[in-house]
Symmetry: D3
Subunit: 319 residues, 6 copies
């Protein structure tokens, strides 16, 4: 039994030391990041049997990804791309204080995963998965990846899994109109939708009261659960006709990258273990908050830490 | 003439880089920390002739401790434990922002110092010491260490020294009842008591108004001076029947570990040089504040810096 | 089906930068090492399904070990020791050129594994293992660990596995007489014996011609295979009455620690995949040689690299 | 055509890691800093053809300076001092939080530049420069440097350049009376004066309303433009009889060193490209703000970043 | 007057710390390398006015390349590729001792330079260049790059420059037959040919005595000068009908990458300053030898160092 | 009782990472070195009570020196120079393999010690010292330092100490003729002379057979002991009319700086403990050999290590 299976691209993340610009850097920290593997790592850290499906170049760089994820206990089910020039997506992250802000340079075109097909993936874990997750980044990568996403969600559901999907709109990958079309192709195969309020507005044209957005999405697409995230203002979920709100837990932020994925990982970890939606929102918020104190995309946290944050949760101040 | 002699355990302090968890760390910063040697270093940095008594394994690790403390000008009077498997206490410090918080993993069981006897220590410096200091951590280490503490304080006093003791209650080493008993065995040999308000409450059952706590302790145990520390709310001292209050000096905190010991070191440094109790409280607060801007347990500060903080002390804002 | 299961202690390995003494170090590289997990990592890197059984403190330090081994694809089957003061063995490795030489300071007394019992270990992988391996370090740790070693080897054999054992004599853990006694208690449960020539001489009193040593050991204890390692002079194996010799492959050595374990890992990897004993010796020698170019105990190598070294093996110069 | 030529001393900047005192440091970050080269780097980063004139020891240390400045696109026109013991000025920067504060230890006495003469400098770039800049540090270094400053400003003006001068009073180099005298000798050759309000008060005896200070300076010395900087309270300029005020743009400060020089670099970059004085103040403020997020003295920023800060400039909050 | 202009691709070079595999690395050293810019840096370090022509993405990564090369005094004449997904070639260099060997993973497909046209390059420096250099890597990148190479060499020659070309065959970019064709298209535009003996054999089918190879090439293609490099066995040149041989200067090799380019840089630096061919071979060999002691592709050396090596040249031992 | 007192300059030693040139370095290792303190550290590491006399700027940099030396157990008796611009000598060490070689850039002109007088030094340790040591670097620093050297050696001898002096000729500080004059002024106050063979030849004009050189020096200047060092060919001593020869112990050299001083430290350590001259030569050679495996100038070694090298001394191969 695998509790959670995720599918998506994972990249090498290269970043210069604090205060140093990419333009002059002589050292990079090497980390690993990708929405779907971030979710798998958060869930695995919280005790779930988690697997991650992807396609990687059969090279030291591809193995670098696997090495990292396995360290956190994630099962890596990979289609290895043996072409000489198979690429691993990379991204350069340059953190910067205001008014400079953090800069990201993507170098992910033509990554191995853009050619992924459902046939070549080792999908054994899908057969008995409880939750299957992907995000809106995957269908944005290529037509092939989009089709594979649909096939996998479909297969998962048929095998009895609950499917979850986070919009994760990336404007550098596609425009809102294309994204809307891509999302709509996937929605029929999705049970749990997670949507940043901003994405719902920009891509799906649903702005206004988040409660109404949640209701609208659930009604129009038949989602079992809709989770709306609103940054510092916390999250809310619509489930079984009820709305549940959850403020964030304040954090001293060292590295904000991966916060949203950690939220999803915490949420699904709790749901997969039978937790209620409100309890899962608490776990999501606590995991996200803890993640912000840790360097890198990955939620290196423990269940005990999440439980403590939830328990002491008066810290859940809504800014 | 030695101005200050301290006695206690000093450990290796290992900590991962900022934002990295122990669970995934590939590098540790190596530092040295222990309440009593922290006090000695603070005092030596402020110009005192300071010595530190302890027992260490006769190994590169034991010598690592001595190397560090000597660098700050502390005389290291060590009983070397030649057993093949003599241990040095270590502690793993993982700093973390809220809500994660800093985590400490101790690995100090059966350290060489748990077998220390007064006979084997090179105690020449005790003969002409002005102040002799230990803390409540030492008697918590072992029965043997507790007895040695009593013997040393007793011998010091007989030789004319003023003795000082900080409760420093550590719940990972003993429970409040055992600590209370251990402290009471030592109190008859103590002239200056330093007590965190929380320790006084938890171990000695003295909560309520700190002024009353100070009076109660002085009356019951005949201390010459009682200093109560209250974290951000500053400190107060009872001496010659008078109460003196001292707010903290605000600091941009880089590393809070060792703040309390630096307070004691600054306080004793001033007292040993003939300063009044209110002036010593100022020095304690200034040393503690400066320490917070420095990485590690040790107060690498100068007398001139302390004097400047005290002089500009309008900064002594009570948060 | 698990190809290889190993059982033993794994420690944190802390080492200062090149040319820096432990006595003055301010940074440690943090690595992970232990004979049996080293073997598992080498085998997993070469494509085997490998599992490692052990007992660890339920702490960030214990999890540090698991994180590392999982990264290399090793399944970690751990009994977690929940006692507050459960210890993880550590060792401090100070590399040094001649005439100083490399120094090792162990701090492994009372590690969690000294209390390990067969009952508490998650031994599911033993049921269908092809090879099961432990080394002479394990029974040296405690009487309890020695008994557990016997029980596990016995159970493995009954389940159909081939058992392998490397003498790995450590003079800091026991004397030759105790070791001999300990080894003899294990020998009836061992199919494949690996012995450094020096260990055979010092502990078992068998010196002289290594071919004779191999024959003597096989005859007296009924081993199916005996492998004798001779440092720079290569190795030899007695199997089915035949002697096979294997020179080393020359290496530019960056870090020699773990060479012997990598040899065993390479040897077993080949055997478990049906390779002949001479072929397995080649794989062992090639894996060991590659390991020497890599920092740390662990053989981060690929099957392709081992195959290339074997193929170009004219490099197999016997110095 | 060179847009901007600057003249002055550039030093090696050595600083320990965060939280480490100079007294105990084992590593220094090596950077390069000097008011006039900082200005040249900021201007070059913003697209100007910039050159820097100086004198350096003909040694690896002197070349270290050139290597750094050229990296940012600054043309380095250097008189090389071939004396065996020619010195490069160095400064040790120890950043520290409050109440400790940042400490600077200068070691710049007898640096090569103190012997600089106009004759030995490769001043070809002066012939067609639009702006020529130096600061009050240069005449403070030596009588010789002071005379050379005058000669260069004079020559630049005759060749048609606009000259700019920042008081940059350094109390460790000379006293206010000497500085006043030195400045007054230069003022007749200056078109654009930049003055920190504090310097104007302390050295020139002009305190009170900054608008009046600007008017007073312009009237008395015939400056074409006077810019008064006021730290957190922003800057103002008097030009063509009009006063223009500019608040700062808030920044998360990582390293404040070089902020003022970056302001000047941004200001001159805009002026040299034909920007109005108010627009140049905006560019100066934005460049200064961005610089504060970058480690080191040098404004590693892009024109696009400056434009964005100016455009989003509601951030221009006056604290 | 520009002494030397080179044209080609320059990449980011990322490498893990010594002894660490790419598969597990958490840090990369960031350096810059490319045959033609390596040559330009070597020549600039030896005092030549050197320029480098290329096409780069208009991004922090592209500017990283420029920053590095400018630091060494190379004029960077770049066509900036403003497409959102314009790529910079990168390569991952994992140094390893024998028998592992150094591994290189290229990620250079579709780099900006593959689209370079002669029109878009700022080729002003070509007009008065003395030497113009490119290598066989450039035409291998794309048909477009190949055509541009021909156009530039042609234009350079027409403007009076001497053109130089190093075969630099890269089997990962094209096969020998394609390379031969590519080289032949360029040969009519080349005056000075540099060929590794191995490349001459593998691509041009010319093996056997290197003297004969040189004569054959000169005769068939009308080169003014032919230089044959033979690794440890040194180099030889045919010029004006005479053969000149040059052994290598022994080096303690820290980083061999860029050795050949440094040879060419040293050779051309001497030729451009009027040195004879034998003297230029000495300079090439000395520069190459010094480079091997320096980390990175770039010959950070001085003319004085090269002169000293040549003068003490008894070190010119032919291994 | 102090076993050994040394007097001389100690500098900050700054060096770039391996393979990086000073010209491009962004990081320096910070270490401490000086012939006389190197000797004191070696002796203290070997168990002697050692003191070091010097003059330092009263600044964090001066305190940096003291911090380092105290760490090794050396008593630091310092005259603090309170002048604002008092300097600490620094030297930049750039290690480089052949043919580049190691480069040293000194920046020591006008260091505080050049103004040192005997009166201002805290010379209490001289009163009961057994050995007093300085080297030929000290009188080369300034006339004042030369006079102080004579006064100290004279005072030491009158107080009953044996005085030792190492020529340590530095051509960057003075020429041979001046050095000869300076040395001759000191010789009447010296009991034990240590001379590198090369220095004896270059400065004192004594070349030829080292045995004759030793006899000549002893005869002409009345030295009690003369030690001649000959690099790889070992050392010899003339004492009581007898010649004792000592080969070196081979070492894998990581950092050769400080080898000679470690030899002297080991030699004096043994002599001060009553060892014979041949035994002291063994200790000197062993200490020097061990030092070469350690980074930095300082002999961080233990008596046990020296004893082991001497005992296993077949390693004493004369190359």
């Amino acid at each position: 039994m695998t509790d959670l299976v995720t599918f998506g691209e994972t990249m090498l993340r290269l970043s210069p030391p604090e205060g140093v610009r990419l333009e002059t850097a002589r050292e990079f920290d090497v980390r690993v990041g990708g929405a779907e593997s971030n979710v798998a790592v958060a869930a695995a850290s919280l005790g779930l049997e988690s697997a991650w499906l992807s396609k990687l170049p059969d090279s030291p760089l591809g193995r670098r990804i696997v090495h990292e994820l396995r360290g956190y206990g994630v099962e890596t089910d990979v289609a290895w791309d043996g072409r000489e020039d198979a690429r691993l997506g990379t991204y350069y992250l340059e953190p910067g204080g205001e008014p400079r802000g953090t800069d990201v340079v993507y170098d992910r075109a033509d990554a191995a995963i853009t050619t992924v097909s459902a046939d070549e993936l080792p999908t054994e874990s899908l057969r008995d998965a409880e939750y299957v997750y992907t995000s809106g980044i995957t269908p944005a990568l290529s037509q092939q990846a989009a089709e594979t996403s649909i096939q996998l969600l479909n297969a998962a559901r048929e095998a009895g899994a609950t499917t979850a999907f986070d919009l994760n709109y990336r404007s550098k990958l596609w425009d809102p109109a294309s994204a809307r079309e891509g999302f709509r192709a996937l929605f029929p195969h999705v049970d749990v939708l997670v949507a940043a309020r901003r994405d719902a507005a920009e891509v799906l044209g649903r702005d206004g009261d988040p409660v109404e957005v949640a209701h609208g999405l659930a009604t129009d697409h038949g989602f079992e659960t809709v989770v709306i995230t609103r940054g510092d203002r916390g999250s809310l979920a619509l489930h079984d006709g009820e709305i549940h709100e959850q403020p964030i837990y304040e954090a001293e932020t060292l590295d904000p990258i991966g916060t949203g994925d950690s939220f999803v990982g915490g949420f699904l970890a709790r749901r997969a273990r039978g937790g209620s939606v409100p309890s899962a929102l608490e776990w999501g918020a606590a995991t996200a908050s803890l993640k912000r104190t840790v360097a890198g995309d990955l939620a290196a946290v423990t269940p005990a830490e999440v439980e403590r944050v939830v328990a002491e949760g008066d810290g859940g101040i809504s800014r």
